[in-house]
Symmetry: D2
Subunit: 156 residues, 4 copies
Amino acid sequence: MAIQLTKDEQKLVDHAKEAIIKYNKQRKAKGGIDTLYAFVLSDSGKIYDGACFEITLSHSSICAERVAIANMVLKETYKSKIETVVIFDPVPREQEESSTPCGTCRLVIWEFGTPNTTIICGQYIQLKNGWAFIPKMEKYTIKELYPRPYKMVRWD
Amino acid sequence: MAIQLTKDEQKLVDHAKEAIIKYNKQRKAKGGIDTLYAFVLSDSGKIYDGACFEITLSHSSICAERVAIANMVLKETYKSKIETVVIFDPVPREQEESSTPCGTCRLVIWEFGTPNTTIICGQYIQLKNGWAFIPKMEKYTIKELYPRPYKMVRWD
Amino acid sequence: MAIQLTKDEQKLVDHAKEAIIKYNKQRKAKGGIDTLYAFVLSDSGKIYDGACFEITLSHSSICAERVAIANMVLKETYKSKIETVVIFDPVPREQEESSTPCGTCRLVIWEFGTPNTTIICGQYIQLKNGWAFIPKMEKYTIKELYPRPYKMVRWD
Amino acid sequence: MAIQLTKDEQKLVDHAKEAIIKYNKQRKAKGGIDTLYAFVLSDSGKIYDGACFEITLSHSSICAERVAIANMVLKETYKSKIETVVIFDPVPREQEESSTPCGTCRLVIWEFGTPNTTIICGQYIQLKNGWAFIPKMEKYTIKELYPRPYKMVRWD
């Protein structure tokens, strides 16, 4: 069952596919490997990119989603809201399920989005001569992925 | 609507209430304030305690749930599974909703539990002369709070 | 005692001052406040920007230094090395000491730099009509700030 | 060159060696592997244990040092101060240098210790029939490992 994308979501997916090929070409040229990328569309209409940032001492690693959102805040301030997040994870072959945001990213998307912020999850494969995107994608609202969110108790 | 607790869950809630009063007395005696506590019941039948661990440089802080689970792993190894988690958050007055685990704790409970691991969320109030637990509690399975969990793609 | 800057370090400081004014103008226009910014100069000659990324649930926050380094890795791969990091922290009045990178950022700068990667720490003040940079800055190598670094034991 | 241990430090090292053997026996019995352990001696005279807590989604992992300190805070409140930290890391054979705390742990030890809080770093080896501790250990003050600490700027 194909998901339906809004015009804005389609714009973000199109941007993501182009950017991933550009970034992966650079990585490959330097001997690096493919990675998970995330892209966020702000309510300003602008797009921000992120890639998984892995550190040897693992607790310092940062997921691609949060790198992209940090870039939105850097360029736009905390007032911006995420409209949509797109994630593409490299896979050795088509997987039944696409990678969804981790729990930490869900709480951050919740804080910087609205309950109806959408999350689109896809997969891509390295070919001999480029990269191919699996047509099947999944789409969720953050409300679906982070039900009954943690809320800080107010003491004032 | 009162939630139904299994015998094991009731045992963990009873432990939690007693431990919170003990810990809070110590905190108060030293000029400290109440905090959020979490308790986990391992499938070994043993209980582990945790309190919110807040650092001035905030990104190093650790939620109570993860302190308790780290203690389970310290004392029992990674083979143990969480049966139930109980969380009690201090509140100035009864809140409509109790605090649920944050996104990061959801992913960790998922990893160290089963889809049916239960999470019981309650509130407590500081009185002039002690602490009182709000009768109303909420109960979830981790599957409900962390749907469509992140799964690492296997490359082997 | 004034610190000596290399040509590359001066270039990064100049970039930092210009970027901070640009970002802060945007923040102020939207009702936001000044923040700590970090900038890294890669051995490729390119510069990457970061700002402190603070989340209500604090353990998910990311320091400006790591946002900037994540951007270097996003755009250049893990093969790049940090030549210099510049940090400017907003202050209400000139402080005796400038803010240095936190412990987590020290380990990440260590991993993505060389022992002689330099770190330049400065302060800035909001004026009625703009921002002013305190002339006094501090300069360290990462080796000075992160002596006897943690090294993972090799088992192969 | 052998390090000199105070009476309190020797007490903590003795506790550490005994605890590591106890924990590792449990781990081995359940098919687990050795891990890095940390122990802290509070200024109350009490000792708290921690083991490295590794999560598949690595950014949620917690170092042994911070698990031990979180336990000190759980049991004693934020008023306590760390007197000494002991770390023992498993090694396949004697290493020239012992594992030191990571940058994140340095900032946390700094916050919950004094500049002269000591850190003792050792190694241990799994034998066919038990575990052996390498006689050589290293000893630092946190001031030596975390010079020019990050300090939050005060705005009041």
